[in-house]
């Protein structure tokens, strides 16, 4: 790899004052407003930003793959000495794929389900003129899959996308992206749809491959920790502009722009690293002794400060268990693959744990680990196959009618998708007061008063009461969902990936809100998540789940300091930012 400081090396990609807008009925809405960036051959550059920051639009503009109403309205993009803006579609096609590879975001929808993997790889090879003749193309396709790290590549060629896991599909897409040895690879959130351990393996692999080939990588991500770990250079985008750019390490250690400071303070991966290194350094668990450099956060949330506050407020005395789960098992019957046989899937296998009143227990696992199934059984949305659930000492399984309604009153859920968990046709007031109506709490005016009180608790203005969910942002919707969950003054709140779909800054705010509410209302949280980094900040105890079983359960500090199981260690190592030494 060439040293970027050497003189006389021409930049591979140079973007100057790029302007991109989206045509709407109300005129052109700018999405990218004057972006400059330079990428040297063989280098890796990461663009970091929240949704709507224009990071993906910038990447798509380079290869002219802007969605429908998108238009480049100004600036220049020079790639390898050629101006890309204004290039005809024929010329663009010869560059796209051949000289600039692209790895899309969602591996699930970017492979055509009706064609075999082999066909799709061969299609790319032919289209880019890498090889010709049936045999050559086939041999090359096998080569591509081998490089992508798939075993039995020749057999795999005949298989179809649905026979591949998400990680394997993304490997295929990376293989396709790199098949013509492009000078530049654009990877648009290549692993955000994948589990963390898979993400780590895939990115490691991508790093080796591109280094060997000498391909420069433009990496788009929302995760600051991931970006800093994988790229030499960082570009932080905010509202279509670059707010800060430079060497990764320098930006992380010394963020100058207030927006970057906010991001650094709110990124769970970085916060968990910091807490970790601090506890190691001081050998005590008093977070207040942290020597981390307090970033000057003007507004926004510092996750570490939030975590610190949480621990301080936590009572030291042992309290009774709010939730006890014993041998909880759920078996799903599935229709067999062919031959009319039916099989069984054990989603939850003799799960045991308990949650102390007023504390937070995190149920951590990757997709398919059974964590959500356990949550649904506790909420009585699914019936367990065997085992028992005790809430405040009462077995919930036999509850029916009035007793079940009373149980629901004491236990409320908050779901992952803030865009899906609110009925779009009911206004915020009705949404929050629905539990009150169902449980016949108070009269009309009393209910309205309670809704105002709840809006206030989740820091939303009272005027929202007549508004509809589509007018609110993701974070605000999640606040409404939390308000609805709190309406009946429950003891237990089950948070099923409640912050996973939110942008980092908003996520930090909601985590802080949850911590504050817990302290104020003595709530017990069962926090279901795939993100160990978030767990570090919010949870007292952790249960790690794998394939329906709890493989490790301990306090958060114990799990992070001395993980016992190999799987837990893998999960911990997969938290982005492991390779970064922060100035703690």
């Amino acid at each position: 790899m060439s040293d970027p400081t050497t003189q006389n090396v021409k930049p591979l990609l140079e973007i100057k004052d790029l302007q991109v807008g989206f045509q709407t009925t109300g005129g052109i809405v700018p999405a990218v407003r004057g972006v400059d960036l330079t990428l040297m051959p063989g280098q890796t550059l990461a663009i970091v930003g929240e949704s709507g920051s224009g990071k993906s639009t910038t990447a798509h503009a380079i290869i002219n793959l802007l969605p429908g109403p998108g238009r480049i309205t100004g600036g220049s993009i020079t790639f390898d000495g050629k101006e890309l803006i204004g290039l005809g579609s024929k010329q663009m096609e010869s560059i796209r794929g051949r000289e600039i590879g692209f790895v899309p975001q969602d591996p699930m929808s970017n492979l055509n389900p009706v064609w075999s993997i082999g066909f799709q790889v061969e299609e790319t090879i032919r289209a880019n003129g890498i090889a010709s003749g049936r045999k050559n193309v086939r041999a090359h396709a096998i080569q591509v899959l081998k490089e992508a790290g798939l075993q039995d590549a020749d057999k795999r060629l005949k298989q179809f996308p649905h026979q591949f896991s998400g990680g394997m599909r993304q490997r295929v897409l990376i293989g396709i992206g790199l098949s013509s040895r492009p000078k530049l690879l654009i990877a648009d959130e290549p692993t955000s749809a994948l589990d963390v351990t898979v993400q780590r393996r895939i990115l490691d692999h991508l790093e080796t491959l591109t280094r060997d080939i000498g391909t420069a990588v433009l990496f788009i991500t929302h995760d600051l920790g991931l970006a800093a770990e994988r790229a030499e250079q960082l570009v932080v985008m905010y509202k279509g502009k670059i707010v800060e750019a430079g060497p990764s390490k320098e930006i992380l250690e010394n963020p100058v722009h207030p927006y970057t400071q906010r991001l650094v303070a709110a990124a769970p991966s970085l916060a968990s690293r910091r807490i970790q290194s601090a506890t190691h350094a001081t050998a005590t668990h008093a977070l207040s002794d942290l020597e981390y450099a307090p970033t000057k956060v003007t507004e926004g949330v510092d996750l570490i400060a939030a975590a610190e506050e949480r621990v301080e407020k936590a009572p030291a005395v042992k309290r009774p268990d709010a939730i006890v789960v014993r041998d909880l098992t759920k078996v799903y019957k599935i229709r067999g693959q062919g031959k009319g046989s039916s099989g069984e899937v054990i989603a939850s296998d003799k799960v045991n744990f308990s949650v102390e009143k007023g504390t937070t227990t995190a149920l951590v696992g990757e997709s398919g680990s059974g964590k959500s199934t356990v949550a649904k059984m506790i909420l009585r949305l699914e019936d367990p196959t065997s085992g028992s659930i005790l809430i405040d000492g009462t077995d919930v399984a036999p509850l029916k009618g009035k007793a079940l309604l009373d149980l629901r009153r004491r236990m409320q859920p908050v779901f992952q998708d803030p865009y899906g968990s609110l009925d779009p046709l009911r206004n915020i007031g009705n949404t929050i007061s629905e539990p009150l109506q169902v449980h016949k709490v108070g009269d009309r005016t009393a209910r309205k008063e309670r809704v105002f009180e709840l809006l206030d608790q989740v820091s939303l203005p009272k005027s929202l009461i007549t508004r509809y969910p589509n007018e609110l942002s993701g974070g605000q919707r999640q606040r409404v969902a939390i308000a609805r969950a709190l309406a009946l003054k429950p003891d237990v709140v089950v948070l099923d990936e409640a912050v996973s779909a939110l942008d980092v800054l908003v996520q930090a705010q909601i985590l802080k809100l949850l911590a504050d509410l817990q302290a104020e209302l003595e709530l017990t949280y069962l926090f279901i998540t795939h993100d160990l980094a978030v767990v570090r900040v919010i949870a007292d105890n952790v249960c790690v789940m794998q394939q329906g079983k709890i493989v490790e359960a301990a306090t958060t500090d114990q799990v992070f300091d001395s993980p016992q199981e190999q799987y837990t260690k893998e999960l911990l190592n997969a938290i982005p930012g492991a390779g970064i030494t922060l100035g703690v």
Binding site: I251, G420, T466
Partner: protein
């Protein structure tokens, strides 16, 4: 662009704060007035000329149907004189005369209520049946879904015009607006049911339904309060378009001679009676056909406008 302006060493660049002022994280930013799917759809429709054109036509058709005497003082059946048979337009009778010597315009105006009534009765029937079958099949699923959906499939497999011809032939003694509507509607509802069932299958798995269930809302209340309102939009589109189709069906049946009796004024009957004189007196065929086409077109256009307004994806493409 000169090559000298470029420095290969990555510099730590920080944008001046004035260029990108920070806004509060997750600031509440709502419009002046509340908005949801229906309010937005209405605001969107209001801006479309297509909406206003079809709305004016539909309104006009309704007014004509309710108050025919406002538009013509000539009685449609009385005072018909055979001396005027197939006569051309005169100053008092702008559209000319039918074979029986009746005023074409007057018959047109007085026939409107028949066509519209059939359209409305059929639509009410298909919508009620469609919602009942579609909602219960989609929401409760299982064996109930199997029974209701298969029942729908049976009705769906028979072309409703054919079925209506058979029914009307059997009940030839009771030919009136209600029976003909029944004959059309009884075989036309599965389309509505299918659309609704598919939409309900989508909506019932949404998180807000799960949230309501976890709160303790009963199944039926979830169906009525959350699921139906969120899945009704495509039904409204289908219904508007099928209202036009029902009017055509009545005309078809009357044209085939199994519809309404000749004594009842309807566009279909007039078209049927006019076919023999197409060459000598085209006005007897053209005007009822035009009335029929324009009315049906108005309903179909309205359906399209509503579909566009309710489907934000289609809206974004414009």
């Amino acid at each position: 662009m000169s090559n000298n302006s470029f420095t290969p060493t990555p510099k730590h660049f920080v944008a001046p704060l004035e260029e990108t002022p920070l806004v509060a994280i997750d600031a509440v930013n709502v419009g002046e007035r509340p908005s949801n799917l229906w309010i937005d759809a209405w605001r969107d429709m209001r801006r479309r000329p297509m909406f206003w054109i079809s709305a004016v036509i539909i309104l006009l058709v309704i007014v004509v149907a309710l108050f025919p005497t406002l538009f013509t003082s000539v009685p449609p059946n009385d005072n018909c004189q055979l001396s005027n048979s197939n006569g051309g337009p005169t100053s008092d009778h702008l559209l000319g005369f039918t074979k029986q010597g009746c005023d074409v315009f007057s018959r047109l105006v007085h026939g409107t209520s028949t066509s519209l009534s059939v359209g409305i009765i059929v639509t009410i029937l298909t919508t009620v049946l469609g919602i009942l079958f579609g909602a219960f099949a989609g929401f409760y699923g299982g064996w109930l879904d199997s029974i209701l959906s298969r029942a729908g499939d049976i009705f769906f497999s028979i072309p409703y015009i054919l079925a209506a011809v058979v029914i009307m032939s059997v009940f030839s003694a009771y030919r009136n607006v209600f029976i003909i509507s029944l004959a059309i509607g009884i075989f036309a509802w599965p389309a509505t049911a299918r659309v609704l069932r598919a939409e309900i299958l989508r909506v019932k798995n949404s998180d807000y339904v799960m949230a309501a269930r976890a709160t303790g809302v009963t199944n039926f209340r979830i169906l009525v309060r959350h699921v139906l309102p969120n899945s009704i939009a495509p039904v409204i589109v289908v219904t508007t378009i099928s209202l036009g189709a029902a009017i055509v069906a009545e005309a078809t049946l009357s044209f085939l001679g199994v519809g309404l009796p000749n004594s009842t004024m309807s566009w279909g009957n007039d078209i049927s009676a006019a076919q023999v004189d197409l060459r000598t007196a085209p006005q007897t065929l053209i005007y009822p056909s035009l009335a029929l086409s324009i009315t049906v077109l108005a309903f179909i256009m309205m359906g399209e406008v509503i579909r566009d307004a309710l489907d934000p994806k289609a809206r974004a493409q414009r």
